[in-house]
Amino acid sequence: MKNVLLKLAAALLVGTCAGALAQTATPPRPGAAGAQSSAIPLPANASVVGSGPIVMPPPPARPGGGANRPRGDFTIHSRHLIYVTLPGSLERPMFPNGTGIVVLDADNNYAFVKRIHLWDYAGSMSPEDISGVAASPATNMLYLAARGRLGAIDLATDRMVWTTTLDGKCCERPQVSADGKTLVVGSNLQDYWYKLDAQTGKWLATIHAPGSMSAHNLNLSADGKLAFMSPNGKLLQIADIESAKVVRTIEFPDNVRVQVLNKDSSKIYVNQNNFLGFIIADTHTGKILKTVEVTSVDWRSVWNRSPRPRIPHGCPSHGIAITPDGKEIWLADGLFKKIHIFSNADDPKEIDSIDTPDGVFWMTFGLDGKLVYASSGDIIDVATHKIVGATKSEFGTRMFSEKELDTQFLDGHLQRVSNQFGNEFGDFVTAEKMGVGPHMPVLAGKAPLIATPTGKDPNEGMKQASLQ
């Protein structure tokens, strides 16, 4: 009986589809009977029905007969991992969770997997803050920016492939292009960004942004062609990565902090100093479209108290994200230890808030946008607005980091990786699915060691003078 029902359902499903195709009265397509010419060479007996898909005949049977079919041999060696870089937050002094990258298994209750060693630090010295992290499926590398240097880690071996200090004034948040060829990274609070070869770390060009001292955050458009460079200053500059030239600027009333983009990168949503809320600007015209303030808490009386409350980053809100369905805007509130959630409408309204155990100063959306990894160590379900877990170290201690990545691997080869910035278009694979991103080829597993660690700085000898 079950089989009969199964066949009936399948026949109906296929029949509906075929019926719809048969009713389509459009001119014959290349390869179809009656077509004027055939730009696409098709087998004579390819099945073409109306405007429906071209169905190719099956390949010839194997010599001697027998089925061509492989059975049950799918390679399912995928890993869904969270990379938490340390020390990656200003929230806690004394680096309670040590240094390195702690890897957690997202498919196994966020169990500790390993800690990746980074640079050598003297025990007597404070390690540099990690200022940003990005990764590329194309190069299978993870890029780590710290105040003073930049490093690339081969994700097949977890070894550092190259590390560079550039001109001695690097580095801030990095971003890597979809094809894995270009790495853009901010200088350490200077007025320029570096354009590097993502494979080798070689310095290719400098993107100068005069008027934007204190290079800080860096975001890429959905198609990966434009760099949105925000200093800890009022002038956000948009650069064409190919030419390494600034093409537009947007001026904000106060210093810009975290920034995210909508689906087609036509609007930018930013945090601003001395403001609990966000500002929306048009990225084409540079015009401020909307200023949205949190009104559910009396933040002004707290913020304007003397002496002013001291919180990490020195601003009431340092963290903003747009949910991938485009419906909500999440806003970090370090002052009241909350996340405020707004409707993403022409006139955004606060619809909910989440109380967090510690202040949130960054929010990283996971792949597919179902979970948020907050810098307070909280893992939050996007649909229910509930805290559902925490990122913990091998010692069971909660980790505070603003620099985390959600990754999907197959046989050691990175397939997808989240962006640090909570853009509406998510990662490049999601952006392609939305129709706004570049094509992301499906990659094979079994990652080869792409680059051999050299132990040398690819930009050794570079001087500040070379920037002129």
């Binding site: 199964l6 399948a10 029949g15 099956p58 089925a67 061509n68």
Partner: protein, 136 residues
Amino acid sequence: MPATGQPVAKEATSPETAATKVCSGCHTMQIVMDTPKDYDAWHDTVQSMIDRGAQGTPDEFDLVMQFLFQNMTTVDVNHADAETLMAVLHASQATAGAIVARRTSRPFKDLADLESSVPGLDRATLDAKKRMIFFQ
């Protein structure tokens, strides 16, 4: 507090439910139902989807392949093995055997030839799947 944000989905136990669960997790079923392919091409497609993060158990992926085999796989009536004929044409073992016996002496010309020569085939199924049935 549970330290997880991963809801545990119930494992699918039929080809349809497996296909709906695994494929619809990322895209609509329309994409699946649009373009019939041969079995090996479907196998490669499912592997690609797994590589891109499709979630399922090994048994669920086998059920997905079963669904695709029965519903969206192309067949060359004059060369396919009996198992493929049974799955794709929804034919009994005896009917598949009759197809193989007939084509050995005289290959089928077209769908009408198949229908008129071999009893036991479901006309509605053949009609619905005619774009997937080839005579090479």
